[in-house]
Amino acid sequence: MSDATGVIHDIGYQRYTGPRLGRRQVFGALYLHGVRTVFGLGRSAKAKIFPWLVVSVVTVVAAGVTAVRSQIGEVVMTYAQFADAMSWLVIFFAAVAAPELVSRDLRSGVLPLYFSRPLPRGDYALSKLLALVTALWLLLGGPQLVMFLGAAFTTNRGVRGVWDELLDLLPGLLYAGLWAVVFASIALLVASLTGKRAFAAGGIVAVFLMTTPVVGVLSILPSQTINQLAFVASPPTLVGGVGNWALGDRLTQGRGGMPIGDFGPVYAVAAVLLVAGCVALLLLRYRKVAAR
C-alpha cells in the first residue's frame, strides 16, 4: 500500500509436517505444567507468594531440627515424624493448590479446548492428580533431604553413619508419599466439584476439619475395637495409623503412638480404598464435564 521503507514480507500460512507427539509426551507436558502451576512458576508474582511461603516454613523447620541435632546431638524429629508434624501445612497447601489446578479451568471454561484435542479426558484428571501428588511429596520430601544432608555431613561414624541415615530417610520419603497421595486425591476431588476457588479451598479444609471430631467421638466410645478403629474416620489420622503400623518405632520413637491395636492392615486397606474411591469419582466427574 505505502512505499517500501520497511516492508514486512507476509510469508503466508505454513502447513506443519513435522512430528506430532504421542499420548505419553502430551501427558508429560500437562503434568509438568501442573507442577509448575502449583508452585506459581510461569505465573504472576501474586500466585507465587503462598506456595513459597509454605516451602520456606517447612525448610526453616527442617533446618532448625538439623541444627539442634548437630549441636546437642538429640534427634528432635525423625524423618517420618516430620511429615506428621507438617500435616496441617500440607492440608493448607493442598487446599490452595488443588483449586489452582482444576477449579480455575472449570471456571474459565477452558476445558472444551482441552477435550477437543487428542488428549483422553481421563488423562487430564490423572495428570493434574499426579502433579499435585508430586508437589505435596516435594513439599515434605525436600526438607527431609535437607535434614538428611545435615545429618550426613555431621555424622561422626563415617560412611556407616551416612548409610544408617539413608535407611532412615527412605521410609520417611515413602511415608511422605503416602501423605501426598491421600491428601492430593481428596483435595483434587473436592476441587473438581466447583469452579469457585474459595469454595473449593474451604471444602477441602472442611473435609479434614469436620472428620477430626468424629475420631474424637469414636475413640471415647466404650468399645475397644471401635476405639482402635476410630482413626480410620479422618484422613490425617488414617495416614498416621498406616504409618504407625508400617513404620513402628521410626514414627513413634518409643513414645507409644496411636492405639490402633492389631488393626494396622485394616488401616492400610482403608487408605488404599480411600484413594481408589477418590480417583474413580474424579474420573467419573470428568466424564461428565467433558460431555457438556
Binding site: 506443519y16 502430551v26 479446548l113 477437543s116 487428542p118
Partner: protein
C-alpha cells in the same frame, strides 16, 4: 474426498429431548455454513463430530474417520473454537496458545513458534504477551480462533465465531475465516444462527432446524439464475419499464425499483442503452443477489 458425512444421525437426550433426528448429509471440503436457529442442533452435531458425545443411532464420518470409535485421530486433525468464553484471564494469549499447541502434540519449540504464527495470522501482534483478561471481545474471539489453528488442522469447527462482535468486528472475523478457507487450505465449518452472515463467505450451506436437515447444497447452486439487476431512475420509471419490456426483458416493479433478471453481461448494456436513449437520470444500477434465506423460506420444513 468427503469432508463430513452423516447417515441417519440421531441424538436424543434422556430418550425425550431430540437434538438431532435422522440427519443425513454429506459435504465436500471448502467453507461450510451450518445454519439453524438456536437449539436447532448445531452444537450437538459439532460435539458428535468431535467424538465428545456418542450419537444415539446412525453413522458419522469426519475426514474419513469415525469419531465414535477413533476420537483421538479425529481430534488430532480438527481445530475447535467453542461458542462460549473459554480463556483463563490470567494467562497471556501466547502462553495459552503455546500450551494448547503442546496438548495437541506439538514439540515445545514448535508449539511456541506456531502459537505466535497463529496469533499473527488472526491479527494479534504485540498484545499477545498481555493477560487475556484485559482483551476486548473481538481479541478474545481471535485468540479462540488462533488456538484452533495452532496445530495446523485439516478442518476447523467454529461455533458462532461472530458472537458478541460489533458489525466491523463481524466483517473482520468473516474475512479472516474466508481467508483461512481459501488461502490456508483448511476446510472450515462455520456455525451460525445468522444466515445472511455466513452465506457471504461459504461455498456450501447446510441448514438444520429442530435437528432435521432443511437443505444442503452449494451456494452457487442455490443462487444461480436468481441474480437480478435493480434499476432506479429519478423520473420516467414508467417509460423505462415500457422500453425494457420492448427489448424482451421481463421487468418487474418493486416500489421505485425496476428488477430485471440478469441473463449475462449484455443485460447491463441493454439497460444502460435504454436509459441513455430516454435521457433519464439514472439513480442506481446494481446487482442484487437473492438472499439464500428466501430460498429456505420458500420451503416448508415438513416437506423436506
Amino acid at each position: 474426498m468427503t469432508l463430513l458425512a452423516t447417515e441417519s444421525l440421531t441424538k436424543t437426550y434422556g430418550g425425550r429431548v431430540t437434538a438431532l433426528a435422522d440427519l443425513t448429509v454429506s459435504v465436500e471440503p471448502g467453507i461450510i455454513g451450518l445454519v439453524g436457529a438456536n437449539g436447532a442442533g448445531k452444537s450437538t452435531l459439532i460435539k458428535i463430530l468431535l467424538g465428545l458425545l456418542p450419537p444415539t443411532s446412525g453413522r458419522v464420518q469426519v475426514l474419513g474417520l469415525d469419531p465414535t470409535t477413533d476420537p483421538a485421530a479425529v481430534r488430532a486433525r480438527v481445530g475447535y473454537m467453542p461458542e462460549h468464553d473459554a480463556l483463563p484471564p490470567d494467562l497471556s494469549a501466547a502462553e495459552l496458545v503455546t500450551h494448547l499447541g503442546r496438548i495437541s502434540g506439538l514439540p515445545r519449540t514448535v508449539a511456541r513458534e506456531r502459537a505466535s504464527e497463529a496469533l499473527r495470522h488472526v491479527g494479534l501482534h504485540e498484545e499477545r504477551h498481555r493477560a487475556v483478561g484485559g482483551y476486548s471481545t473481538g481479541m478474545k474471539q481471535r485468540v479462540k480462533l488462533a488456538q484452533a489453528l495452532v496445530h495446523d488442522p485439516d478442518l476447523l469447527l467454529l461455533d458462532e465465531p461472530t458472537n458478541g462482535l460489533d458489525p466491523a468486528g463481524r466483517d473482520a472475523m468473516l474475512a479472516l475465516i474466508h481467508r483461512i478457507g481459501t488461502e490456508f487450505g483448511i476446510s472450515v465449518v462455520v456455525c451460525s444462527h445468522l444466515l445472511g452472515e455466513v452465506e457471504r463467505i461459504c461455498d456450501t450451506l447446510v441448514a438444520i432446524d429442530g435437528g432435521r436437515l432443511l437443505r444442503a447444497d452449494r451456494v452457487s447452486a442455490m443462487t444461480t439464475a436468481t441474480d437480478v439487476l435493480a434499476v432506479e431512475v429519478s423520473e420516467g420509471t414508467e417509460e423505462l419499464a415500457a422500453r425494457l419490456t420492448a427489448l424482451d426483458l421481463p421487468v418487474t416493479r418493486d416500489g421505485r425499483l425496476l428488477l430485471v433478471p440478469l441473463a449475462d453481461d449484455a443485460t447491463y448494456d441493454q439497460i444502460l442503452g435504454a436509459v441513455a436513449e430516454l435521457d433519464l437520470p439514472l439513480h442506481r444500477l446494481d446487482q442484487r443477489r437473492h438472499r439464500v434465506a428466501e430460498l429456505f423460506a420458500a420451503r416448508e420444513p415438513s416437506h423436506v
